[in-house]
């Protein structure tokens, strides 16, 4: 179906393989479009993004001499680029095209009888009408090509960040790894073994650390990113390094300072894990008497290399990188929120990570006995709308691993109280079957409470009260120890990180890795993105590293033309805008007495456009004329 009329705008309506046409009467929409002024041609296409659909547009541009296009299809982020490339191959500037999200905004979920169908049909009309008005105000534009710095910054030195940095560096690119703690390793430092192989976590870390050194990854520990400036492909990142009070250049990690510290169990100078990097101690200024007016210099006197420096100050370092991988990790769920399980109140109630560490240091009760029975409560705080509403994926596996560790290091009977066992993957079922064969008891339940009876016969023990949901019977289980298998919460600073790196947050507060951010060279990896096990986290980190490498390998980044621009005639030189720009893109030219905006630094938010009292700032793709036309159009 097509109609030729006076005018040079072509309208394309995509049926999306029948998914849109089932819900909206596209014939009526086409009829409406045909009646609008300036429309030369209306065509409905079965699948616009297919080779056939794109060929139809290209042919029409050439044969019918179309000068502007309205494309009613899916959201621009899906196929905007596909259609844009085709349009340009036919010789029309893609910014002379307006896209209507017909599929998302006007297709009521497929069925003709769906509620909201009439509203959707009406909306399709006024959105297409608005696009037809708007497109007449659009101007040809050119994306800006900016050179890309191939160097990569990785934020977060847990297993994800380490893996990403190794991948980047082993591809021959410079990688910086920023970690806020005194050494890298993150949560891996606190683990003993790894599911499902039961390999040593320490060995995994040591191997990764060796690779990191071999590949010359530049480490910045005890450091945090405080500012991200510049533009995609050319970020200028400011990193603040806290004072260690130990000169890392001089220190050889001998540890004599730690020995010399008179702090007893609460030493003020501590060496990070020997398996990690760097092996340079840190003085806790809050604990060290030297910093509270005291005269202690024991560590300084003990150091043969004169590396102790009480006068050390925080240091700012600027890094120039092209892309950034955010691998900021997670925060273990705080089990004290689960009052019914008595964590922090009842001795013998531990979190999974505490239990794992105890398996290393010695599996003992408070009175020194080995536990004879251990209950592991799965989903402690997980899949619970009051706490973490989601499944953290890795904790069932971890709980199974803990049972095996407990069996290796004691004769204890282990009970797994699970809600649903989630052990996907090749090894999960085998691990489960082996646990069953080893005598681990599985009870399906979400326990109601853990209590410590005052009197005999169970005095000194812990009672887990639960309903066995397979038999439907309430039960009480006396044990010596209770382990809470807790999930992963978003890192405490995830909101700050989302703003620092212009990332979105998921409903649960995790950082969202989206194509728009990736297109700007900002990638997300590891558990700050979503909870997961170690193997999966490392895979996702490698995927992000591959993304950053590909971004760098292109050599150039195409910046969408959405910059704000100042009209020298209209600018009064009031400088109101200069302080408002979140990206420091606006400077003041005192010779011209006018603001000027760097198109490379501008991210197209339009804050300055809205603020300018003289209407002297205009923004590409959102000019006043375009917005006015669109407003008029939607109101028709």
């Amino acid at each position: 179906m097509e109609t030729l009329a006076e005018g040079k705008t072509g309208v394309y309506i995509c049926r999306c393989g029948g998914e849109v046409s089932a819900g909206v009467d596209l014939d009526r929409l086409a009829e409406f479009a045909r009646a609008q002024p300036g429309v030369a041609l209306v065509r409905d296409v079965d699948l616009l993004c297919s080779a056939r659909g794109l060929a139809a547009i290209c042919r029409d541009i050439k044969e019918a001499g179309l000068q502007r296009l309205v494309v009613a299809a899916c959201a621009p982020r899906l196929h905007g680029d596909t259609v844009g490339r085709a349009v340009e191959s036919a010789g029309l500037n893609r910014y002379l095209m307006a896209i209507v999200d017909l599929r998302e905004l006007c297709s009521p979920g497929g069925t003709v009888a769906a509620p909201g169908r009439d509203a959707a049909a009406a909306r399709a009309q006024f959105l297409v009408g608005a696009a037809l008005k708007r497109v007449l105000q659009q101007q040809p534009l050119k994306p800006r090509d900016l050179p890309v710095n191939p160097d990569v910054l990785v934020v977060g030195g847990g297993v994800a960040g380490i893996q990403a940095a190794i991948d980047v560096a082993s591809a021959g690119r410079k990688a910086y790894l920023v970690e806020k703690e005194a050494c890298i390793g993150g949560h891996l430092l606190r683990l003993d073994r790894i599911y499902p192989t039961m390999d040593s976590a320490g060995n995994l870390l040591a191997a990764r650390v060796a690779a990191l050194e071999r590949e010359h990854v530049e480490l910045l520990t005890w450091s945090e990113v405080v500012e991200v400036g510049g533009s995609p492909g050319a970020y200028r990142v400011l990193v603040r390094e806290k004072p260690r009070y130990v000169d890392a250049q001089k220190c050889d990690g001998c540890g004599l300072c730690v020995e010399a510290c008179p702090g007893g169990d609460e030493k003020a100078i501590a060496m990070p894990s020997p398996r990690s990097l760097p092996t340079v101690p840190v003085i806790d200024a809050g604990r060290c008497p030297h910093f509270s007016g005291g005269d202690c210099r024991a560590c300084r006197e003990a150091c043969p290399r004169h590396a102790i420096d009480f006068a050390q100050q925080e240091r700012m370092t600027g890094l120039d990188v092209g892309s950034i991988i955010v691998a900021a990790g997670f925060r273990p769920f705080d089990a004290t929120a689960l009052r019914q399980y008595g964590y922090g109140r009842l001795p013998g109630v531990l979190t999974s990570i505490e239990f794992e560490q105890m398996c290393v240091s010695g599996l003992r009760l408070k009175d020194g006995r080995q536990p004879e029975s251990i209950a592991i409560i799965h989903c402690a705080g997980s899949r619970d709308p009051r706490h973490l509403s989601y499944c953290s994926q890795a904790c069932c596996a971890q709980a199974m691993k803990l049972a095996r560790l407990a069996r290796e290091r004691s004769a204890a009977q282990v009970f797994e109280l699970y809600l649903d066992l989630r052990l996907p993957g090749e090894m999960g079922e085998e691990f489960y079957n082996r646990s069953l064969a080893e005598g681990v008891v599985f009870l399906r339940s979400r326990p109601a409470a853990v209590v410590a009876p005052e009197g005999p016969p169970d005095r000194g023990r812990l009672i887990v009260r639960f309903e066995d949901t397979l038999s439907g019977k309430p039960r009480r289980l006396p044990v010596d120890m209770v382990v809470l298998s807790t999930g992963m919460a978003p890192a405490g600073d995830s909101l700050a990180l989302s703003r620092l790196f212009s990332l979105d947050l998921s409903p649960n507060g995790f950082l969202v890795s989206d194509p728009a951010a990736a297109g700007n060279g900002i990638f997300v990896a590891g558990c700050c993105q979503a909870p997961g096990g170690i193997a999966e986290t490392m895979e996702r980190a490698s995927a992000s590293a591959a993304g950053a490498l590909a971004f760098g390998a292109r050599g150039k980044v195409k910046l969408e033309p959405h910059a704000a621009m100042v009209s020298l005639e209209l600018c009064s030189g009031c400088r109101l805008c200069t302080g408002l720009c979140p990206y420091d893109a606006i400077s003041f030219d005192s010779r011209k007495n006018a603001a000027q905006i760097s198109a490379a630094l501008c991210r197209g938010c339009g804050i300055c456009v809205g603020a300018c009292p003289s209407a002297a700032i205009s923004q590409e793709q959102s000019t006043r004329e375009q917005l006015a036309a669109e407003i008029e159009g939607v109101l028709a």
Partner: protein, 132 residues
Amino acid sequence: MSLPGFEPRIVAFLCEGSAQSAAQAGALGLPTSIRPVRLPCLGRIDPALLLQAFASGADGVLALGCPAGRCRHREGDEHAVRRLALLQKLLAQLGVSPERVRLERLAGYEPERLADAARRMTEQVRRLGPYA
């Protein structure tokens, strides 16, 4: 008191980072009274743009931006809040109810909040009657 048969037309300025995604996820919940116009950030909004909507025949304006503290452009939402407050004063001086303008905050994954905001604003403007 609302006029029988009066179906208001409300220009909804949608922040690309949040409300636009919510609209895409939950367009079914949007009544036809809502006339969406996408903005790169709600921080783009200014009184002139809102007056443009009224001049073009809108009965109300609904500005939809990110939850507090969640603007990807740092403070775009806060600029919008201040500029809307200014416009509301201006409207009152012109004898127009400031209730014709409203700002709501929601994340991209909250289409039901968008639907709720759209419904409440439609009811509010229906009570106020046509602008012109």
